[in-house]
Symmetry: C2
Subunit: 417 residues, 2 copies
Amino acid sequence: MNVNDYITQVAIRARKAAREMARAQTSAKNAALHRIADIILEQAAELADVNAKDMTAARDNIDPAMLDRLELTPARIESMADGLRQIATLADPVGEVTDMNYRPTGIQVGKMRVPLGVVGIIYESRPNVTADAAGLCLKSGNATILRGGSEAIHSNQAIAECLRQGLNECGLPEDAVQVIETTDRDAVGTMLQLPEYIDVIIPRGGKGLIERVTEQARMPVIKHLDGICHVYIDHKADIDKAINIAFNAKTNRYGVCNAMESLLVADTVAEQVLNKLGPMLIDKGVEIRGCGKAQQILSSIKAATEQDYATEYLAAIMSLKIVCGIEEAMEHIEKYGSRHTDAIVTEDITAARTFLNNVDSSSVMVNASTRFADGYEYGLGAEIGISTDKFHARGPVGLEGLTSQKYIVIGDGHVRQ
Amino acid sequence: MNVNDYITQVAIRARKAAREMARAQTSAKNAALHRIADIILEQAAELADVNAKDMTAARDNIDPAMLDRLELTPARIESMADGLRQIATLADPVGEVTDMNYRPTGIQVGKMRVPLGVVGIIYESRPNVTADAAGLCLKSGNATILRGGSEAIHSNQAIAECLRQGLNECGLPEDAVQVIETTDRDAVGTMLQLPEYIDVIIPRGGKGLIERVTEQARMPVIKHLDGICHVYIDHKADIDKAINIAFNAKTNRYGVCNAMESLLVADTVAEQVLNKLGPMLIDKGVEIRGCGKAQQILSSIKAATEQDYATEYLAAIMSLKIVCGIEEAMEHIEKYGSRHTDAIVTEDITAARTFLNNVDSSSVMVNASTRFADGYEYGLGAEIGISTDKFHARGPVGLEGLTSQKYIVIGDGHVRQ
């Protein structure tokens, strides 16, 4: 079978399984999640063996960071199982009825939450994504087609087998989880051309992957591009809170999308803030690249270029600009930001309100670290990704982002005049 | 300027205007809607003159139905103004905060409703769409780029001028409404390739237009394909309600997407229902195409082909099938339906619950006519279209469908551990 036919067959099976999953009882879905967790732990040694083969084969072809992400350590295998059990504890979004009201005609109109259908996930090296993503899709009543990195293919297939066995043992269709079994690069291209069978694509990986998927996909894409997050310290900021928040947002973790990449400070408080915060950051090993005014306060820092303000460092580097107030800060964020997460530190309610209303980012914060932009911190339980798009889902995407709403209407023989 | 550059310039202006519209006060948006309604009435004679020129030019090129839709009668001009005033009375969705809760860390997390940004509308002959669609986008804080049919171009431009003047007089950016000023067919192609400036495309028109737009668009599309709507009359239906609902769903209006195209009747009640309903429909002039069993009850009707069950007639024609119960009905709907609107008539709560949960359509109804599937009937105030997709908006799309939600987080100096 050629790759086109193979992918089309996978997608047709997924569509069929999705119909069954949409009707599945919450209890069956939760039982399957627990059973899959059990199977993953039972199979831990076998999973590690298979993974070791992937690791050996990949060692000469991929960089050390990617190799690290590829590894299924005992802790990571346990964490996959724990993640599935945690998804089982989350409320089932499917079937939730909201906004049910009587209309003047006498009909009742409301909305019912329903699965999206078939979710395609295209990801790179981390094999634990296979369990995490499939688990979220399972709980939200969707079928999943998973296409992982070719270097992880045996690990992904072994994990998928655990998932399929668990589904099967709990009376659910095993085709609700399918891992693409070929490393042929055309497989992704074919997936992206099947909007009649695949309802949404979620790419997880580097920018190149996401751009290719967005460019080619004929169905909607839930995607996450850059995280160029700002903290703006306002004239009316509490200086201690400001310093804590900026320090935490930059240094809590460097390689994450919700880390602060750029700090904006109002001119009237710049000296007070930077005389304390600057040395803290520098001591921690952070390289600061600042505007001319910032260099006058912190004489040891480099000059920031235009490009610095538009860079997601994902490292111990940050840009710094002194601004004359909230309007200049918002303009800067508009121009250089990536609409991911931006925060203001202020005690002034009007400044807070202006910032919350006008900054067009997936998360907008007042007096809190950008590091809170996360599905767990927001109470979603788990996230399949963070969307920097506006359409459908924005910000951390959990179970609800994997569902849609249909209208339901109940009458008693009502007809339209 | 070539058409590519021209469209790109329009889109860049729209993006800029969208930023301003997102910040606009509700009072300013409502004032603009009322002012535009005034201007449209003041300019009624001029609009009619311009429209007469479009009518004359188009007379030999388009069919009578299209020519009728192109005409701006005095009643239609008044109705555009009324529609805008009605939009002004609707609640402003922008800025609505929901689900605001404290998290264990002490931060408050909620969602705030925000505009989508720039909405591209691609439509065919009806010039009143220009005012209706732009009005909805204006109220929801979006900018609009309108591309109407070439035969309506002067009418559309004249209406757009009223909109732009009203925006301008009320202190809002006139580029929040732009009508494409060229009839070059490449204009649409260029629009569809500008996801960085246009956030969503809404095609309104025939199937060919919608398919082309869906095929080519690099941004999300809110679209409406077929309306192959079913009424299923269950074993436990109240016969009088069933007959009324089916008759209304078919004959209330023929050329609309929420009209019943196919009737399914449970075998145990088929004779009782059809002996009364059949003659009523035939007397009304409806052509019935039925399965073999239906022909045994209604001897005068034609046989239905496979193709009939998959056809959106939009006319006084319908298909009819006798089924053995709800499961066969749901399978039929799954196979032949278009996921628009489907109804069950039953007094049995378990059948109603099964149908509501399992039928995968944008509107699912119990004991009500499919004709109720409509933004006004659902209380949305007005609709920009009915979506048969699942992603983002499903069913009638009103102001809320033109918005998204961002997360807002409020702390008091909170940092992440």
